[in-house]
Amino acid sequence: MQSVSTLERILRGTAISLVIFFFMFPIFWIFLMSFQTNETILRVPPSMVFEPTLTNYRSLISGTLEGSTATLEIRFMSNLYNSLFLSVTSVTVGLLLGVPAAYAFAKLKFRGSEDIAFTLLSFRFAPPLLVLLPLTIYFQKIGLADTYLGLIWVYQLIVLPLILWIVRGYFEDIPSDIEYAHRIAGHGFWSTFTKIALPLAGPGIAAAGLLAFIFAWNNFIFALVLASADKQPVTVGALAFITASGINYGQIAAGIMLSIAPTFALALYAQRYLVEGLSLGAVKG
């Protein structure tokens, strides 16, 4: 019995290791690349033995990129900051607007509620480029072009429908009887919302927030079209390493490691909520 159990453990461990290896190898390879120069990365055949260098990280942090023919100024850290600022602020605004709206759509049936909810969802249907040109003209007229405020507003096209429709499902899952019981005990609507509904939908809100953050972080086109170079996120900034005088693979790898760090850390921290939240929403009672 014991030997079967050991074998099973070994097999399970091997299978898990293989799966981890399969999924993590590209990240591991990029991690190794981030400590190499272009010359060692491009040698034939590729090798895992090399003299590690911090040059790539140093150039990203210092903002100067030594190219094959010239020294370029890069704004990677500023791009990283922009991504962080835009994503965090947009998701915060999205949660502040989206969670109460989701509750209203879930619990308060009013005329046109489905139409409004669907209209908000339809923001996700339109190809961004289709929306961007008229938006650019509008923004120029009202002075929002090339401002963080304008970008955060536009980012609501990404985060708001996502938060609203995910969180709405969780609110709908909360039995109304619990809320009625709280109301009968003499509490008001706001108290019911904050003390009963919000805590019960907490994992779902966390999951929606996390997904919205990832979507906002990965966005590329909105800031590109609507803002100047100093407000570009890391998704645009990362392209700076592809230059006419060559592709700087080492810096790209270091840039990837730095740019996935915030989402990776957030996902690790919130994975419990994410799994719990998503599975809760997936099953309707």
């Binding site: 120069t37 190219g67 010239a70 120029q140 100093d230 592809i242 230059t243 006419a244 060559g246």
Partner: protein
Amino acid sequence: MYDKEKKLVQSYMNGGISRRGMLRGLASMGMTAATASVLVNAVATEALAQNGFDWKKHSGTNLKLLLNQHPYADAMIANLENFKALTGMTVEYDIFPEDVYFDKVTAALSSGSTEYDAFMTGAYMTWTYGPAGWIDDLNEYIGDDSKTNPDYNWEDMLEGVRNSCAWNGQPGGALGSDDAKQWCIPWGYEQNNLTYNSRLFREAALTVPTNLDELVGTAAEAKAKIDGAYGIGVRGSRSWATIHPGFLSGYANFGEKDLNVSDDGKLSAAMNTDISRAYHEKWVQMIQESGAPDWSTHTWYQAGTDLGAGKSAMIFDADILGYFMNGTGNSEAGNLAFAPFAANPDADAPTPNIWIWSLAMASAGKQKDAAWYFMQWASGPEHGLFGATEKDFVNPVRKSVWADAGFRSRLDTSYPGYVDMHDLSAPGAKIHFTAQPLFFDLTTEWAAMLQKMVAKELPVDEGLGQLEASVNRQLKEAGLG
């Protein structure tokens, strides 16, 4: 600046002493080469300020530029303080990577944005921007003595390059015709010729090919003899950029065209001829036998990176791509050499198709005269010489810069064959495409058809027949055919 140093630099500028002599003299006064180059340009700027032109007319104006991340932009930024000192203007700029640059330009222009006064563009793009009314005809500035300084010397620009930036807006209209509008000012340009790895060629006892048949043979020989490298790098992605470099340069050398223009101005496909078929067959054979295994994904970047890493024996692509790959950071740095390439054995000289990084003025801009001041300075002979000798502003578009002994000697020393290649190719270098609004669609389709031919999905003659039919249909639908 101290008098002694200034006199030394002025003596160099007047041709009294050589560049080496000046640098040696400045070094003895404790100056580095980098500082010396700044001094040289400062003196050139001072000279420019004294040519009687009112450079300070727009003093206090703030210009905003949209730039592509490129060595040409780097050279300009390195010299920008001199422009500010000369004019009293201030300059801001946004730099975007090339992958997204033209999306940014198109969005800014099409929305009528007033944010950018001038921007970098390719000449091909002006075939869209010009007729759409997004950019200004610069002839009115070039020909206006009150707006253009007397030393600008427009005629100093290489003729083929200058004409390639001028189009009358009529589909099929000849570039540089008398009624053409100057949509952009050439800044720096690329010819398409051969860059080869002289180390690999020496080790494999290969000779530099001089026509298409030899190219096909040498590429195959290189692949057979060199371990771990393929024979020739040419672009292959499904993009217009696959057609315009080596492919079209060789094609034009046989006298072939992309489109016919009838007397009544109607366009039709011109690539389904006997000569074109023979050319396509050889090109396809070359890629099948000795091209990159993943040729259909190759763009500028892959073609260059493989050459710089010693994974390909040569490229038939932009000369400056080879120039960049010969720089530090590439394992084959210092091993690359350059050769002119005329695909047609009966041709007198190469006929490279060219890509031109240029400067254009946004029609929606609010400070056009001031923007022109910047454009004439950035495309002027002083900055051209500074960029070419001190930075990587190569290839310059001005004859005077190409005639500069310091520049030629710099190239000769580090880039064997480059100067001769350029001199031989420049007379035939121009845009060989027919200017028309469907340029990007039709050339992308051409590239897609090449992919099918190389993948053996279609024989060349059948592929060209299909391409001709499709091109003609699209031209008709657009009212051009």
